[in-house]
Amino acid sequence: MPVGQLLVEGLAIGACYGFFAIAVVIIYKTSEVINFSQGGMAMISAYVAFHILTVYQYPFWLAFIITMIFAILLGVLIEYCFLRPAKHPSILGLIVITLGAEMFLVGLASWKWGAEQQYFNLPFDQSVTYEPVPGMVMNNWALAVFVVAIILMTFLFVFFKYTKLGVAMRATQQNKHAAKIMGIRTERVFAFAWGLSSLLGAVAGMFFASRAVLDPTYMMEPYMRAFAGAVLGGLMSIPGVIIGGLLMGLIENFFGFVYPHWKPIIAFVVIILVLCIRPSGLFAKHYVKKV
């Protein structure tokens, strides 16, 4: 068993799951919405980047910046058009709205760009490889994922702990009405959370697209694994979520090496088992609901 290589691959894809999961968690932390359309949002953003790169032929970083602006607008727009008008929706209602948004976005992308697979690449090429330790081949893509994940994690940790906006977001999550009374403009906080989350998701979406191919449903499976990783980590703590994603990548790769038949479901089996023992994930405190 090539342990070293499996470790590298597992950690690389796991970090990718992890920081896509952060996008899910940011929305969950502020508004308790599980965003099932996160995959669709990332997919549309990646397609926009692809469109700018191939049709307008802009240089990559310019296209990247335009895409990031688009992603923020998309997130804010979805919050504004689809979630804000709903009055006192239940958790189920919110899930249905985001599932609806996902179907809408996937339909829109296939209508615009067709169902055929497309090629997307980041400047961090996978074909450029190093072998620092024999048996552990690293590539630029994996290194970029690690760097981005670490930067994001630190940034978000500091953001939620020390900045005013971060504290406002946490306050909104804990009690929307109390936060409002304390002078927090909760609606703006929601819009901000959606924009930020959409941006992070778009970055993750580009990383996934440059590892696989771009098609309207390509984010479905990564989204489910990222979500599973987030649940494993507890949906609340940012470092916990990254660790959850990493665990997901490692479990899948090591297990998949031995039993390739069962690779796609091992993640979910682990999730169900973990949830049976710790209902709120590994790294979150289990809140007992008060009547």
């Binding site: 697979q117 090629y119 696989a212 390739p260 038949h261 690779k263 796609p264």
Partner: protein, 400 residues
């Protein structure tokens, strides 16, 4: 309890009433599939959902029928071609097929992507005597045993796996062969073909790795192949998986000779979505090359530019033409006195028929049209290099 007694009574009466139709039921006749002015031909295919890239097969057939109509139709009748989306979901396939057969009325179906989708409607079509030509999938269940109304064009995956393996062992002199296959009938048929050929050489696969259709990360699967030291890897997978497999191999420095079935023979597409890694891959092929100067290919290519400017001239697109081609030929042979029986008879008479696809031989006892593939290699910029002309599988058991 006064209300419930009344309701009990009502229900007893209703249920008794409902049982009547079980005893007497009249069979309704189907609308005809043709009239004096038009012949209606249908096709299902995934235009949406995960398998949507294969939807171009159904759109390709449209081009052929449009061309036929432009040339004045067949013996005074135009062809009305009706295409329906089934999302690659058998329930939807049954629905669209029933709609076309029972509401619109069709004479025949052509193409139709997918094994499960085809299996779901196969018996229904046979029972209603609807001709079905050229399913866009190779499944043993379609033509063995012979189904009088179903005519297959596509070479069997088993044969293809066997021919490709022979090429690897004899021409490339590679002994360590690994296999990457999709874990369904497509991949498993290919696996069986490869194994049967290797058995004649007294060899075994060094690794056989299944891919589930939902996998998006193939690192561990590729590592199994690398660990086994495979020199050549035979792929029976979908285009997305092939692209992921090649990109993943590049990241871990694994460079075997990739060999693949004809489902990945759309080189411009594969070259594009792998970012150039597809160069040097050997595949089977069941049609002429896209840039071939075969007169029919030139004609279709020009027609596609004119009639369907939004379409890419890819292998799956013109596969739609070659699956539909034999039925046009058969309709021409039938003449003005059209009927389902006459059409079946004409199809059975098609022998050594060769246009842009494989050589087709049908008879009353044999509806598997072709047994041969070409072997091609991807050159620079997604160009085609022909390695071996039409080759049949000498190990095929179904021909005996």
């Amino acid at each position: 309890m006064k209300f419930s007694r009344r309701s009990l009574f009502v229900f007893t009466v209703l249920v008794a009433f409902m049982l009547i139709p079980f005893l007497a039921h009249a069979q309704r006749s189907l609308p005809p599939g043709f009239d004096d002015n038009e012949i209606r031909i249908g096709q299902w295919g995934p235009q949406t959902g995960p398998a949507a890239p294969w939807g171009s097969v159904a759109r390709g057939s449209k081009l052929l029928f449009d061309l036929v109509n432009e040339e004045g139709g067949i013996h005074g009748r135009k062809i009305r071609y009706i295409m329906r989306d089934d999302m690659y979901n058998p329930a939807q396939t049954v629905a669209v097929v029933k709609e076309l057969v029972e509401r619109v009325g069709v004479l025949a179906f052509v193409g139709g992507v997918g094994s499960a989708t085809g299996m779901a409607v196969k018996d229904y079509l046979a029972a209603n005597k609807i001709v079905w030509v050229g399913p866009a999938a190779a499944d043993d269940g379609f033509v063995f045993p012979v189904n009088p109304y179903l005519f297959a064009v596509y070479p069997l995956y088993k044969d293809e796996g066997s021919i490709l393996t022979k090429y690897i062992v004899d021409k490339l002199n590679m002994k360590k062969i690994g296999m990457l296959y999709q874990n369904d009938s497509y991949g498993k048929d290919g696996l069986e073909g490869v194994k049967s050929r290797l058995a004649t050489y007294r060899m075994k696969l060094v690794a056989e790795v299944p891919i589930e259709p939902t996998d998006k990360d193939l690192a561990s699967q590729i590592l199994i192949l690398k660990n086994a030291g495979a020199e050549a890897v035979v792929m029976f997978v979908s285009p997305s998986h092939a692209a992921i497999a090649l990109r993943t191999s590049a990241t871990i420095g694994f460079k075997p000779q990739w060999v693949s079935s004809n489902t990945l023979s759309d080189y411009p597409l594969m070259f594009r979505i792998t970012g150039g890694l597809w160069e040097g891959v050997i595949t089977g092929a069941f049609g002429e090359l896209p840039d071939s100067m075969h007169p029919l290919m030139v004609k279709y290519r020009e027609a596609a530019k004119r009639l369907a400017p939004g379409e890419r001239w890819g292998v799956f697109y013109y596969a739609g033409i070659l699956f539909a081609d034999p039925i046009v030929e058969a309709l021409k042979r039938v003449g003005r006195n059209l009927s389902t029986e006459a059409l079946v008879k004409a199809l059975n008479s098609i022998q050594k028929y060769h246009t842009i696809g494989p050589l087709i031989n049908w008879s009353e006892r044999q509806h598997q049209g072709s047994d041969a593939i070409q072997i091609q290699k991807c050159g620079p910029n997604g160009s085609y290099i022909l390695l071996q002309d039409w080759t049949a599988n000498d190990l095929a058991t179904w021909k005996k």
